[in-house]
Amino acid sequence: MAIIEEKIKKDSETEEKLNKKIGVFICSCGKNIGGVVDIEEVAETVRKVPGVAYAETNKYTCSEQGQRSILQAVKENKLDSIVVASCSPRLHGETFANCAEDCGLNRYQVEMANIREHCSWVHQTTPDEATLKASEIAEMAVRKVKLDVSLETVKVPMEKSTLVIGGGVGGIQASLDLADAGYKVYLVEQKPTIGGIMAIIDKTFPTIDCSICILGPKMNDVKNNKNIELLSYAEVESVSGFVGSYEVTVKHKARYVNTDCTACGECEPVCPVQVPSEVDQSLGYRKAIYLPFPQAVPPIYTIDTNACLNKGEQPIVCGKCADACDKKAIMFQDKVTYSSFKVGTIIVATGFKPFDASRVTEYGWGRIKNVITTLEFERIINAAGPTEGEFLRPADLAHPKKIAFIQCVGSRNVHYNTYCSNICCMETIKDTLLIKDHYPDVDITVFYIDIRAFGKGFEDLYTRSRLAGTKFVNARPSALFENPINKNVIVEAELNGLPYNPEFDLVILSIGVDGPHTAIKGLPLSVDTDGFLVEAHPKLKPVDTANDGVFIVGGAESPKDIKETVTQASAAAARAMRLMSKGEFEVEPLYSHIDPITCTACGICVTRCPYNAITIEDKKTKTPAAVNSALCKGCGTCAADCPEDSITMNHFTDKMIFNQMDVILRDKPEDKIVTFACNWCSYAGSDTAGVGRMQYAPNARVIRTMCSGRVDPEFIYEAFRKGAGAVLLTGCRPADCHYDTGNHFAGKRENKIRRWMTKNNIDQSRFEIEWISATEGKKFQNLMNKMAKVLQEQKENILASKVLTIEK
């Protein structure tokens, strides 16, 4: 933290050179600009602006020749900053920033004046107005670059280690990928063994592999990998710090068996206590001292102190297991311990929770003995399960001859989970093939709403199931009843338009999944209303979270099968490696500063930040809010809402914005539309209008900010005080904000702004908020033309408010 704070001080003290020599390079861009705008006139006008030491016109400024011309001009005139009046900064911003660096200047000493997409391309029929507008846009850029300060990227130190939370197949895969690439991995798993749900089911789809057979070797790889520290029977207690230097505290539960244990299993038969086995879904038993399943990693027994007669304390009531243990690995004294370590990145792979079928009371799970879930079926059919793989039914241990599956239990349902749980259709289809393979005489019916066989090889498996004789009935049963005499289960359904109430020996509920509602103290995680973790972008960043350095994998993010989980695990590992590989990572210096003297610790900024970048250490003593520049993304929402104006945004300061407005509203402000546009969406939308040559009235002048959240109502008030004809606030569409919530907070200011306007007799039509995406050039064009009309209609109101004193 200290290192980052030093950097901030240094940056703000760096040159705000007062006698800056600015060079302006106006581009003709062939005929694109020069064909409409009189660039020589613009150059003449701009030379008169104080601070401009040099101005020239070029045919193609971005070309090799053009850039050499800039280099020469910078050298000969000893220029401090440059303005390139040409195309959109979204197109060549990088080009000219690199060019500046080639000239020996800092890349933040460059500004682009958009006189093509925003001017020459859209005002082709009004060249005079276009030229005037281009001059103003160029001057705006000059006023901004005058205040630009040299900035350096922030280098955040990066530990080359990762915390992986959850030891299911997702956590295992991510750990192995990272460890094999040379990174240290701490794998924390709350159960006594890793493996998760994949370790306890019998077969996988569509391959019908033995699940633990393909997972076991991976589990052993984890055990043997020198780079993986496996912390099993442990939980993450808390996390502090931020990306690159997370401080993790882990709670190790008391196992009462030490690492001398060889899993020989001599202790188990002599233990006198039997309790229901969690792995066997309570269909079978385990002892108080137990190994969850034979392939457990680590292969160390655990004593369940809730079951054990000793209850983990003196006096020792029973010592049978210790007596049987050759290695003397059993400890009668053990306690919970804690450990801490530092990591650079965190991967959350906590999996999903199987749906609790007892909630669907009409299906009688828990009440009717011969109604089981697919998870229970997996254990029954598993050779390591309570029936040693024999297909028996619970009530009387008879072999079922006629069975049914019911799909969508707990899913696609407003009473339980509204989403589809992804895996249940294929789970059932796989089960039908398993059964038909071992017991060809078993009659199987599947009651479904839709069969979802979307993945590779899935439809084939569905076809195989039908060819094997499985009956698929497109009706969801209303209820299940127990036949009290033979304990069979009667299904109430419909088939071919007639009541269909067949009796089955066994009914298997194909259950869905619940979200895990993962919450760990200090770990910033977004969880949706279903309990699943939220990704940074559903299409383009499926394993990232909004918080740098934290990644999500597998069932914790949404219901999915093994293949998708493994894919996400490797993806998350790669994303983590991307951050960690250089030992440090660079952050763009567009972050904010909070003035500790004027800050009153009101806490509003903290609530505006979606990145947890702002903290108030002690609310009681009102320590001033502080920004972590490694996390701040520079949206500016905090600065706009700060009641004390204590927050400054690097490269987009309040003064820069006011100065640009000065230029706009100096001459004939009543004809001007001050337009605030955000870098990611609405500014791009305006560019799109330009590319599409959509013509509109030349009244608007665009002030670019990174986010619409940056727009302080004060900017808008000042624009009206200076006599602006109209003001526009534009940004990304709702829910699409590049900074998550910036446009949301921008929109919330509307009422306040409109009340101010009413108080000052400014017609409401002179202010509009419009959310415009990058592709909506047409929307921008329509808005421009609409506002031009408003300027005509409101001429009286505009001139009147120019004369009257407007309240501050």
């Binding site: 009409e362 969508c408 696609r412 349902n413 407003v414 009473h415 709403i449 839709d450 497109n474 009706a475 969801r476 049963p477 209303s478 209820a479 109430e492 359904a493 419909e494 338009g497 007639l498 009541p499």
Partner: protein
């Protein structure tokens, strides 16, 4: 047979029927379906949504056949509220003279007697035999006043009965 519904009420109803994804849970549990298999709530919902029409079974527009057990509504995974839709359509049918089963009309009219069902003579005799007191006589004047105020007679006027169908 199917009857079209052109009144704007169909659009309001279809805001709910459009949610139906034909899982047939409502059909599976419907007691009317067990006796009259043509009657399937999911089919009726589909007919209302896709054809803006109501099927006719046994000479009745389907919404008159529901027994109000609410099993379908309780179990519907998409909250289509099909029973409420039937109620809505029944009230609409009465107000808009859309085909009301004669039995319903008779039952409605029997309210004038002060009882919801007709008390048969054999019941009265049995009560006398068992030494039970006479049944209380309803206050017909008060009932008349209520029926006036609610414009009950107006609503029953000019109803089209089943016999006009088919």
């Amino acid at each position: 047979m199917s009857l079209p519904i052109t009144d704007p009420i169909i659009d309001e109803i279809n805001l709910r029927t459009q949610k139906c994804f034909q899982c047939n849970t409502c059909v599976s549990g419907c007691p009317v379906f067990k006796v009259y298999p043509e009657f399937k709530p999911a089919n009726i919902a589909r007919s209302l949504f896709q054809n803006k029409s109501i099927p006719v079974y046994h000479g009745r527009p389907a919404f008159w056949l529901c027994s109000s057990c609410l099993t379908c509504e309780a179990k519907c995974p998409q909250d289509v509220d099909i029973t409420r839709i039937f109620y809505k359509l029944r009230n609409w049918a009465v107000d808009n003279k859309f085909y009301v089963p004669e039995g319903i009309i008779k039952e409605a009219e029997s309210m004038r007697t002060g009882t919801t069902t007709k008390i048969s003579q054999s019941i009265i005799d049995r009560r006398f035999q068992m030494g039970l007191p006479d049944l209380p006589k309803p206050d017909l004047l008060e009932i008349d006043k209520i029926l006036e105020k609610t414009e009950f007679s107006k609503r029953l006027e000019g109803l089209i009965t089943l016999e006009d169908l088919e």
